[in-house]
Symmetry: C2
C-alpha cells in the first residue's frame, strides 16, 4: 500500500524522550534543540510527526498522565487496603528526598505551577490532569471507608482534595531540596489527618 521512505525512528520512543525533556526542564524552557537531541530525530521529522512544540507537549503530558494514573490504579487495585496504598505512596515519595528523581518533581504539578491559569490547551490539560489525580485519590478514600480505615461519614471529596494538596506541597518541598526527615515528618502528619 504505502510507498516512500519508511520512518527511521520510533514515534513512541521519541514521544517518551520528549516527555523526559519537558519533565526535567519545563514547557517553556525545553527548547526544540533539547527535544531534538533527546528524541534523536531531525527538525523536519519532529514537525512532520508531532506538529509543533505545543502539540508535542500535549502528547508528552498525556503519556505522563496515562502512565501515572495507570500505575497508581494498578497499585491501588493490588494493595491489601486502600489505606496501605496511600500510606506507601506518600511515604515512598517522601523517601525520594535529595534524589535526582525528587528534583524532577511531577510533570503534572510542575506544569500546573508553570502554566497556572493561562489560556490554551497546555494549561487546560494540566488542570484536568490534577483533577484526574484527585479523582483517583477519592476512589482510594472511598475504598478505605468501605474497608473501615476511614470513618464512612467523612467527606471523601474533601479528603481527596486534602491529599492532592498534600502531594502538590510535598512535590514542591522535594523540588526545593528539603531533606528526607522534613518530608517524612510532614507526610506522617498528613497521613495522621487521614485516619481520624
Amino acid at each position: 500500500m504505502t510507498r516512500g521512505r519508511p520512518i527511521a525512528f520510533s514515534p513512541d520512543e521519541a514521544a517518551n524522550a520528549a516527555m523526559q525533556v519537558f519533565w526535567a526542564r519545563g514547557y517553556e524552557s525545553a527548547s526544540t534543540r533539547d527535544l531534538l537531541e533527546a528524541m534523536r530525530l531531525s527538525r523536519s521529522s519532529l514537525y512532520q510527526t508531532f506538529g509543533n512544540k505545543e502539540q508535542l507537549f500535549l502528547e508528552a503530558l498525556r503519556r505522563y498522565r496515562e502512565s501515572l494514573l495507570g500505575r497508581l490504579g494498578r497499585r491501588l487495585e493490588a494493595a491489601p487496603s486502600a489505606m496501605a496504598f496511600l500510606s506507601a505512596l506518600f511515604r515512598e515519595t517522601a523517601r525520594e528526598a535529595g534524589s535526582e528523581r525528587a528534583a524532577l518533581g511531577c510533570l503534572i504539578f510542575n506544569s500546573a505551577s508553570e502554566l497556572g491559569q493561562h489560556d490554551g490547551l497546555p494549561s487546560q490539560h494540566a488542570r484536568q490532569s490534577i483533577a484526574a489525580i484527585t479523582a483517583l485519590f477519592q476512589q482510594a478514600v472511598m475504598r478505605a471507608q468501605a474497608e473501615g480505615d476511614i470513618a464512612p461519614q467523612r467527606d471523601a471529596a474533601a479528603l481527596a482534595s486534602y491529599l492532592t494538596m498534600g502531594m502538590a506541597g510535598l512535590r514542591t518541598l522535594l523540588k526545593s531540596g528539603s531533606d528526607a526527615e522534613q518530608a517524612g515528618q510532614a507526610v506522617a502528619l498528613l497521613l495522621e489527618g487521614l485516619r481520624r
Copy 2:
C-alpha cells in the same frame, strides 16, 4: 556633593514594579521589555541601577520575602492566639480561590517550583525563603503549644514542615484554578491535623 543629572525615577518603586512582573510571569518568562514597561525606565537605567536581570530578580525576591515575613510576623504578634493566626491565614488564602490574586500564587513557592535545584543564586534564595517561611510557622506552632492549643509534646519542627507543605500545596491548587469549596475543605482538614 553629588553632581550630574539626578535620577528621574524611584529605585524603590521601580524594584516593586519589577517584583510584580516576576510574580505574575515567573523569572525566565519575565522579559526585559515587560520589566522596563512596568518599571517605567530605560534599559540603561535598569542595567546601571540594578545590574542585570538576575540581580534585579534577587532584589525583587528579597523584597517579597521581607514584606511577606514582616506582614506575617506582625499579624502573628497581634493575633489573640497563634492558632487563630494560623487558622485565619490558611482560611483566608483558601477564600482567594478563583481570584486574580490566587492565580498569581506566591512568588517564593512559584520561584522554588520554577528554579528547583538549579545552581545559582536565584534558586538558592528561593530555597532559603521557603526555609524562612517554615521558621515562621515553627514560631507560631511553639507559641500555640505555649498557649495550650497544640499538645506540647508534639514536634514543632515537624508541624512547621507540615504547614509549609500545606501552604505550598494550597498555592498550587489555587494556581491551577481549584474552587473555594475544594480549597476550603482541604484547608479545614489541614487545620484539624494541627490541633490534635
